[in-house]
Amino acid sequence: MAFTLYSLLQAALLCVNAIAVLHEERFLKNIGWGTDQGIGGFGEEPGIKSQLTNLIRSVRTVMRGKKKNEWNTLKF
């Protein structure tokens, strides 16, 4: 496989987009990876699953940018 730097950028962008479009209500809750399921205690061990759900939620927050209410009131 011959990679260029541009293909790396494309792959990274597509992966981040794939994580960002995982829908919270339709999909993640059915699997059990929702953000309000299984947060667990405040003990010492987060565990892999809670780390993954946190990662998905962070990626979604960062990629969304503005809050949902503000999308209608964008000022230019």
Binding site: M1, F3, T4, L5, L8, E45, I48, Q51
Partner: protein, 293 residues
Amino acid sequence: MAYHSGYGAHGSKHRARTAPDPPPLFDDTSGGYSSQPGGYPAPGADVAFNVNHLLGDPMANVAMAYGSSIASHGKDMVHKELHRFVSVNKLKYFFAVDTAYVAKKLGLLVFPYTHQNWEVQYSRDAPLPPRRDLNAPDLYIPTMAFITYVLLAGIALGIQKRFSPEVLGLCASTALVWVVMEVLALLLGIYLATVRSDLSTFHLLAYSGYKYVGMILSVLTGLLFGSDGYYVALAWTSSALMYFLVRSLRTAALGPDSMGGSAPRQRLQLYLTLGAAAFQPLIIYWLTFHLVR
């Protein structure tokens, strides 16, 4: 009137016929532009005259000063942005090497089995620079090894008459992309397994970059001794690199406050280290087998 002093050459010849004056050695072009039919020296005088006109112009001086201030402002902005992303002091730590360290480290990468003490030494909570501690990772060896690998790939392809300049760039960017992907995968693994260590991104880059040394040795042996030599060198450097990585990461991942973390987390750490080590021979083989046929 036609044979005035404007026509220097003709005038001189004309004068030489009538009076015994020595003809001038060079044509006199200081007067006007229209005298020379060839016109070769005249545009030169034109340009010189215009440049002098430009430098003496105060508006041009103002423009030049403005341009240089814009350039220095741009440079400061670039430096500031760079400092936000990359801490230059931390980067300097990785390049503080000397010849003895490089020689010993290369020997360690090829034969790590007799080294006893793998701990990184600290002095007042700051790790010692590579100059004083053999176990400290550095970025000098990976950078130089990467460049050497690209050159060696060019030589290998040239020997097999498969060389073209695009292939060189493709080889370089492929190797770089694989290292970047490996570093990103390791960062993801460290985040998911919540390994508490002081392994920064540059540490991971350094440890991932040490495989270039193995690649260079494999390709060199393959070029000198054929396909069998390539596989022997591949096996030797892969096992040496795996041993080196496992020993280094086991002690580096724990950090100065060791014995932290419960059993599952330490198991995850172990799996991560073993996974990183097992990935090395695969990637060394993948990046070099097409160079040695």
